[in-house]
């Protein structure tokens, strides 16, 4: 940690601030900057919606490209004879995802399984960045003149929200495709209470529907944000004591990052299976 330069509070804030490029009301299109992390965060806030977290995009797209590069490489040379180690490893992941999808999703849809695979591996890779010692990469970027660098995209609610609302879009799309607009509205209106209470049902069901992407996004974001926060707090400790806490927490976190990726994948498949089912 760079405790010589920052107070603990500043250190924590600094680590929780994204590198943001956006349209500031006064300064126009620029990177958020300020004397302190708090000032930078304030500036980002003033930019409102028209800003983009460059670090989140960079790392998430980079990791996504790594995912498709790796899997494509194996897919190109995939053999039905004895597989190599890498192919075996990739096949284990594919079969794991395929089994989970098949146990939940019983309709024919070629999108679902690749979607689940992408979600699982991509989120896992993004979460995995949490295990990189938290100061290494920000330090390198700091030396290069970039002062903010959050390397775990899933600790940014925009990243998890982007995924969750894409899934939400798919839920709406498949609900309407399978049941028609009328069928979908009927499903929302005529249950759980009898038909006379249709407006009340509709309100209830829409809340339930909206809760799906919100819970997806916030569950992943919350878990990863909290995990990252603990790593930051551990990093404030004297350097000789850090490993006592960071090693057990990192080992435990291996479970958390895998589990969160898995939960996001399974819930996505479950929601889409529900969208396909006619009640």
């Amino acid at each position: 940690m760079a405790s010589g330069e920052y107070t603990s509070q500043e250190y924590i804030k600094h680590h929780l601030t994204n590198l943001t490029f956006g349209n500031h009301p006064e300064e126009g299109w620029t990177f958020s900057h300020g004397e302190t992390a708090a000032d930078t965060a304030q500036m980002t806030k003033e930019m409102g919606f028209w800003a983009i977290n460059v670090d989140t995009m960079l790392w998430s797209v980079g990791l996504g490209l790594f995912f498709i590069w790796l899997f494509r490489k194996v897919a190109v040379s995939a053999t039905s004879d004895v597989p190599g180690r890498l192919q075996g490893f990739i096949e284990v992941i594919i079969e794991f995802v395929d089994e989970n999808v098949k146990s939940v999703f019983h309709h024919k849809n070629p999108v679902i399984a690749p979607l689940a695979l992408t979600i699982f591996v991509w989120i896992f890779l993004m979460n995995l960045m949490d295990l990189v010692p938290i100061d290494w990469i920000p330090f390198i970027f700091n030396e290069l003149g970039v002062h903010y660098m959050k390397i775990v995209p899933t600790t940014d609610v925009n990243a998890t929200g982007g995924l969750a609302f894409s899934v939400f879009g798919l839920i709406i799309y498949y609900s309407i495709k399978m049941k028609g607009v009328g069928g979908f509205l009927a499903e929302l209106s005529f249950q759980p209470l009898p038909k006379i209470f249709a407006p009340f049902n509709l309100f209830l069901e829409i809340v339930g529907l909206l809760a799906k992407p919100v819970s997806l996004a916030l569950r992943l974001f919350g878990n990863m944000y909290a995990g990252e926060m603990i790593f930051i707090l551990i990093a404030i400790l004297p350097f000789w004591a850090q490993w006592l806490l960071s090693v057990p927490w990192a080992i435990f976190h291996i479970l958390v990052i895998t589990l969160q990726a898995f939960i996001f994948m399974v819930l996505t498949v479950v929601y889409l299976a529900m969208a396909h089912e006619d009640h």
Binding site: T20, G22, T44, K45, M47, G48, F49, W50, A51, I52, N53, T56, M57, S60, V61, G64, F67, I68, F71, R72, V74, A75, V76, A78, T79, S80, D81, P83, Q87, I90, E91, I94, E95, D98, P110, V111, A113, P114, L115, L117, T118, W122, P153, D156, V157, N158, A159, G161, G162, L163, F165, S166, G169, F221
Partner: protein
């Protein structure tokens, strides 16, 4: 936690990753997995078939062996029987031959005895006549006394 354009950027990136995965990653990998599954099933099938063939072949070999043994035993038995028969036949022929030779020898002996008897009888008749002539000192009509001499010779 500000919601900003990043959320849309993420959604777009997600869309392309899923699209790529769906088109270029998932199908070849699952195809390879399915094909391997098929190959393994075929391999197991072939192994089972080969095992069954082997068992059948072994059974057939055992059957053939048993049949050959039986045949061989039958041939040996027949050969033994034939050999015995030949020996018996040979014995029979030898015995017959011996009998025949013995009979011929006996017949010849008898014939010679008869001849000897005839010769002796003739000589006895001549001797008797000569003796009688000497005794009587007189010529005896050979014809008149032939009957008598023959009778004498027959009694000898």
């Amino acid at each position: 936690m500000n919601i900003n354009l990043t959320i849309i950027g993420q959604a777009i990136a997600f869309f392309f990753f899923v699209l790529f995965c769906m088109k270029y990653v998932w199908p070849p990998l699952t195809a390879a997995l399915d094909e391997r599954k098929k190959k393994i099933a075929e391999g197991l099938d072939a192994a089972e078939r080969a095992e069954r063939d082997l068992r059948l072949a072994q059974e057939k070999a055992a059957d053939d062996m048993r049949a050959s043994k039986e045949e061989a035993a039958a041939i040996i038995e027949q050969a033994n029987k034939r050999a015995n028969q030949i020996v018996e036949e040979a014995k029979g022929q030898a015995r017959e031959e011996a009998n025949r030779v013995k009979a011929a020898a006996e017949a010849e002996v008898e014939q010679q005895v008869n001849q000897a008897k005839e010769a002796l009888r003739a000589q006895v008749a001549a001797l008797a006549i000569a003796g009688a002539e000497k005794i009587l000192e007189a010529a005896v009509d050979e014809k008149a006394h032939a009957q008598l001499v023959d009778k004498l010779a027959a009694e000898l």
